[in-house]
Amino acid sequence: MMRWLYKLPLRFRTLFRKSHVEQELSDELRFHLEKLIEENLAKGMGPEEARYAALRDLGGFEQIKEECRDMRRVNYIENFLQDVSYGLRVLAKKPGFTFVAVLSLALGIGANTALFSLVDAVLLKTLPVQRPDELVLLDESGGPGTVQYFPYPVFQQMSTESRVITGMLASFDADGTLRVSVRISGGGTTAELAQAQLVSGNYYSVLGVNAILGRTITPEDDKVPGGHPVAVISHAYWESRFEHDPSVVGKTITVNGHPFTIIGVTPQEFFGITPGHPPDVTIPLMMQAQVWLAPGQAIVNDQRFGWLRLMARLKPGVAENLARAALTTRLQQFEIRSAGSVLSAEDRHAFLQHAVQFASASKGLDSLRRQFSKPLLILITIVGLVLLIACANVAILLLARAIERQREFAVRLALGAGRLRLIRQLLTESVLLSSTGGALGCLLAYWARNVLLSLISRSPLPISLHAPLDSRILSFSIGLSLFTGLLFGLAPALQSTRAEIAPAVVGGSVSRESTGRRFWSSLAQLLVSFQFALSLVLLVGAGLFLRSLSKLNRLDAGFSRDNLLLVSVDPTMVGYKGTQVLDFYDEVLNRVASLPGVHSAALSSHSLLSGGVDDAGFAVAGYTPRPGDARGVNLNLVSPGFFRLMGIRILLGREFELRDNRNAPPVAVISEAVAQQYFGSENPVGKTFGWGGPSENTRVEIIGVARNVKWDSLRNEGARIVYLPFQQNPPWHDPLGQVTFEVRTERTALSMVAPVRQQFQSIDKSIPVFDIKTQNEQTEESLIQEHLLAALSAGFGVLALALAIVGLYGTLSNDVIRRTHEIGTRIALGARSANVVWSVLAQVLRLVLIGVAVGLLGTWSISRLVDSLLFGLTPTDPGTIGVATLLLAVTAILAGYVPARRASKVDAAVALRHE
């Protein structure tokens, strides 16, 4: 069928050359008319008579034209344009109404769009690589726990299994903990910190990512340990550090004291394999010893040391369990072979239990998802509720409008307009409202997203998310706008086009009641109650999160948090070794402690509430673990005077002194929790322990017991910590690199930032200072989730309340107008203004009561969602619910008072004449 060849151009002509087509239509009909006249003349009629007869014969000229137009079937487009322009005029005529409606929607849609962009970036988006669905992340199960980090030789062994995989990559450290000092040649001498990642040579080819400038790392760049000083930089780093310099390829940067040549820049959208932790600099694995751990400590050939995350690309068409089995075989073979001849039958059996497990890696590593999926789920619920409230609001406003416009529609219906056509007109108006709201919402979202990102990025490990407002997000908010427009527009549209022509046209009075009107008015009130219910849920949620946060903040952490400045540095990054490092620490401690305004200074390998971990074994003769006992301890290397400075009480024995240096016998202070678990009621001071492991025979003497402190999180009780003097770092432990100096200041800690930083600079300019912050800031960072939830839920709770109040106000005002006649009658019959005010307020209270009843059910139903994020209270905390209810009721009554006053001022005479 080639009909469309004829049809299509016609449609276009009709649409875009309208006047031309109209002209042709007139011409065609006039031609016909003239022919008729000619015929009539030929029959012998006079000119006038002939013309008249012809016109009569033809029938209505305009009517034929209209019918022809109908045949052209593009009317709906024209009608739509008409509806839009009419709608715009109607909306412009009521700027107040339009403003409130559009603002409500803009806030609702904006909040949803902003949050969706975050949800998209954290939870939904797949890696910007080729065919992300084929990627899997490898774990090893069957041992004491799940192993996520593999030794390099294991990677080599498994990555060649080309029957089931098309490639396997290894990377360290995708979780964002590998920070390096970078100096750019020609860019001054100050070192800066950058996020680094070590990758196998096939990293980019397995992912299918190409450089936008230069080239990426290839297998040729990853062959000889220490032999490939090349680096690929990210687009963001290129932008911020090199200002898009096109000649960046070939430049040299110094990473942790070693020169590297930049060979390429990756695309803007590529953020590595972990959302939230994009690497600035990517370096071949073979260069590990140059940038990570002490120089010369090469671990690439270590068969035991697991440090690499492995990701494989499965061969298309190969079943997953087949691939898993093949890789498991490789793994077991390797483990058995590397154990060599000492392998016992039991060990062999244990090795054969080990198996490779797959986790989908299409969205990359999941550290960010684990951290934020729950808060984001709660927040998206919250903004969803806010949007519902906004929609209810607009529906209420539209209902009020519809009642006002009933006469207009009655007249139009009487004049023969189709009901469907009117409904379409009204829906066009509401969609206009919602899309204007949506457009504004997108602007709002842009701003709100930045606020959200900055809130999220304040977590202990800096998070930088790539969350652009791209086409996905925009189509989300366009869809949302259209959906909301139809949702809240439908009821008013149905209501105002009901065929009740006669009374509306004839009566002409707004005060005349009709059953339909009363019904829709109660619908509006129902919507208000519904808004109250949702607002109550949000207010209760906000109250719960705020109170949890404040309880956590007031919690006794076991040490004193005020006036404490934390400075993190790592001298090993720029080549300090052995005793050089310790001397540097000593010098810093001396210099900083003697600064005016500084009370004292100490250092520790881990600062409290920084979220870091450092596990160690702990072996005490005669101790047999009870079932359920936790194993191992956390290690913290500290300087003499640390406990005094931190305000951690020593319960038994003494704390470290200067005499506990590297030549003295090894000593330790243990936390209450360790003492409790390993020594029960005995006094541990004077007893000794070892580090476990077959070849370890060091005995460390316990010289004191320190009070429990919060270690990784304020929520966790009784951290098991073993403190050692930093001069006595055990030989099996990593050499002391990055440490944090704790500086107790006399006035606010922030006032000492500049002088303290200056001391570091004056000792060695090339040492990068990681981080300067107060202990209070660090504590807040450890509460990032709680902060995020408290701040946002409070903000949205207030917003919800404000929207609900607008809805209430609109409904009441409309109701008062509707009842003018009735109120006037009552006043005429002697009702006092107080009675009238009370009757309106009683109505408000009724709405609040219904709202609260429904809202309480709502809070109960979401309590399971929030329970795990609360602290020190239950989701049904009566105090919080009481305060939220009170807040709701008081605000509602205040808002209801204005229309109530207006009602009481109704002039009886005017109201009655109104009829």
Partner: protein, 109 residues
């Protein structure tokens, strides 16, 4: 001669298609031709003719072209498209079947 019979719904389309199948023709011509060929038995309602023409054009059965008529006046000439020709054949067959059927029923008594 009595009042010309109004055309049965749907037959107008058939008549128009058949008429323009011979040669391109304007609206007036089509009406005239139908009247003449049917020996004044069929009177095309002018009010129905033009909407029908426009509908057929929009459906792609016929196409239109402006041309000169007598006295150098411009008129819109309609002619069949290939699809229209097929459609006409089909409709003609249908009509013949229908009228034969009706004829048989009427002759029954």
């Amino acid at each position: 001669m009595g009042k010309p019979t109004d055309l049965v719904q749907g037959t107008l389309v058939l008549l128009i298609l058949k008429t323009v199948a011979l040669e391109p023709m304007h609206g007036w011509g089509i009406a005239l031709r139908i009247r003449q060929v049917s020996k004044e038995a069929l009177q095309v309602n002018q009010g129905a003719l033009y909407p029908a023409l426009h509908r057929l054009e929009q459906s792609g059965w016929i196409k239109a072209k402006w041309g000169d008529s007598d006295n150098n006046r411009r008129a819109k000439y309609y002619s069949l498209t290939p699809a229209g020709r097929k459609y006409l054949e089909q409709e003609e067959a249908n009509w013949k079947r229908l009228s034969t059927g009706i004829g048989l029923v009427l002759e029954m008594s």
